[in-house]
Symmetry: C2
DNA sequence: TTGTATGCGTTATCAA
DNA sequence: TTGATAACGCATACAA
């Protein structure tokens, strides 16, 4: 049979209560006794039983707070679906999840949202804005006993418990690889990024370039524009870029604004000759894949991201043990028309 | 608060034991009482609490039996890894998993393996061979109270609880789509299938053809060979096929024998001009992707297959409720060199 | 500082 | 046919 608190209590000649105090560092126990108990637990290789723990923890009904920049951003619909899946699975364990949404990437706004429920939550799940004030807030929350999990985007120099999301550099590498395959390794391409200030976007571009440099000398970059994840801006900028570079025959869309870029390409009459690689599979992107204008789109498993973040939050809440790794990376999946659209459609 | 057996007991004026007997159909309860209890449970929308259930069920220490045709088949290494992951997660709930392996697809052998532990297991997870005797065995096991989950491959006309695996037809469709993208829609290709008798292999070919017919008139099939998932046979047959069709410029590898096919292509001096699409990412396949001879390989998330099958087994064991769907389909992922190999390598 | 008692929700055993 | 009670492993309020 497995090792339980009861068994440790017997073998070290104390009560179950004392073992509990020792193992959970609740204080009020004689150092010698504590030492003895710890040793026995160590020797027996004790690890708390989840089923028991879950049942006991249930009445505390822990609340997980989630903050997403999801307003006006269809990508997060799938993340939310994953969060809801996990919430349903954990309901029997007393877990509740509260999601707050915001529009855009304003640190002040994000701080305010955090403060709105920080005195009620046991865990924070956050798509963090890369700003010192957010990093500091994560630190002060940690001191108050509220760990933070970075979701979808990581934040530097912070004390977040772990990161759940994709590997942005890798996704850029894959984007370059697939573009090379689709163009036979010869293309004059443009880049449409979201924002130069977004770490993930820059990492994708860096990944793209490193593969290009190492393996595909026939790929030549002509121009780069910023869409700010906005379809209108994407449309305008792309029209301008295409006017300036009539020899452009491929576009690498790094982030949002996919629909705007594609509409500009169609408008300019370059639909046929253009090879476009994008990210994610929000409905408007799927539409463009179906139409054939986007040849491949690289997806980051948003549902799994939401699900896993909540599960990892629960694991930590229940066990108090540091995660096995501080980065849980979900794979980048290449999707083409046949992946996304039913054949008979 | 949520609905518990205790609450139902109070409201229907009986003891918790009686409620348990009614809700779990253990018999020995007056029809009228049963009716009353059932009605209350119904009205309150009772659903058993998993944490409590897990704790109580723990001492029964259920054993899940798994049978895999994994000997000499590297694909199943990942499936096994997924099974082990799930086993570790469920250890605290008393679950144990016993894996039996076999070589090849002999129904008699599989029957024998089932019979070796069928009197000890609570659930069977099986990569079923599509044979009436196996289907019948699944039926008789069900009558004995042992449900079977079909893993990786489904079995027709059987009473298996559910299927966990990929959509083979869809994976064939994607294979055609990616081949068309890689060849600009113009290719004279050959097919190397595993076995004409394997349902999954035929479904992949069917999927390939349906997309080809609907969308890519420039793809022309020249020949088809059988590898029986054996590298030597694959090598021999491919050499022969290439001799017979010197104009072949693409190959669709449907199943195993990937390494053999690729070696034959290299041997014949067609490495440069050939576009090869394959399945899965076992080490030898990754090697060929790295070398650039395979342009894309379509993977079916073997780790997730193993993991999910065990989880679904547990869910059913714990809840006794029919799964939400009888087919749990894991997505087909297109992988290219940059997906599989580190850039700095 | 330590021990005891009780509860979380379900299941199983024993007695009535 | 039914009810009462103990058990699973952990947490905690309360008593000593």
């Amino acid at each position: 049979m497995s090792v339980t608190i009861k068994k440790i209590a017997e073998l070290s000649g104390v009560s179950r209560g004392t073992v509990d105090r020792v193992l959970n560092n609740r204080g009020n126990v004689h150092p010698e006794t504590a030492e003895r108990v710890r040793k026995v637990a160590q020797q027996l290789g004790y690890s708390p039983n989840l089923a028991g723990k879950a049942l006991a923890v249930r009445k505390k009904s822990p609340l997980f707070g989630v903050i997403l920049p999801s307003e006006g951003n269809a990508f997060f619909d799938d993340v939310i679906a994953g969060i809801r899946n996990a919430e349903a699975e954990l309901r029997d364990f007393g877990v509740r999840v509260e999601i707050r949404t915001m529009r855009g990437f304003d640190p002040t706004r994000q701080l305010k949202l955090i403060e709105e429920f920080e005195d009620r939550i046991s865990m924070l799940l956050l798509v963090p804005i890369n700003d010192v004030r957010i990093a500091e807030k994560i630190g002060s929350l940690k001191e108050k006993g509220i760990p933070t999990i970075a979701l979808n985007t990581d934040i530097e120099n912070s004390s977040r418990l772990c990161y759940v999301g994709s590997d942005y550099k890798k996704s850029g590498e894959i984007a370059c690889g697939i573009m090379a395959l689709l163009t036979g390794g010869r293309a004059n391409f443009g880049i449409a990024t979201g924002s130069f200030r977004m770490l993930g976007h820059s990492q994708r571009i860096a990944g793209f370039h490193s593969v290009m440099k190492a393996r595909y000398p026939g790929l030549k970059m002509l121009d780069i524009i910023e869409t700010n994840d906005d379809d209108i801006q994407a449309y305008e900028e792309t029209c301008r870029m295409l006017r300036n570079h009539p020899d452009m025959d491929a576009i690498f869309i790094v982030a949002g604004g996919v629909y705007g870029v594609c509409r500009a390409v169609i408008r300019s009459g370059y639909e046929e000759r253009m090879t476009i690689v994008s990210f994610d599979d929000i409905p408007t992107t799927v539409e463009m894949v179906e139409r054939g204008i986007i040849k491949a789109t690289i997806c980051q498993q948003p549902v799994a991201q939401g699900y896993l973040a909540v599960r990892k939050a629960f694991d930590y809440y229940i066990s108090g043990a540091e995660p096995e790794t501080d980065r849980f990376i979900l794979g980048n999946e290449i999707k083409i028309r046949e992946s996304l659209v039913d054949i008979d459609k």
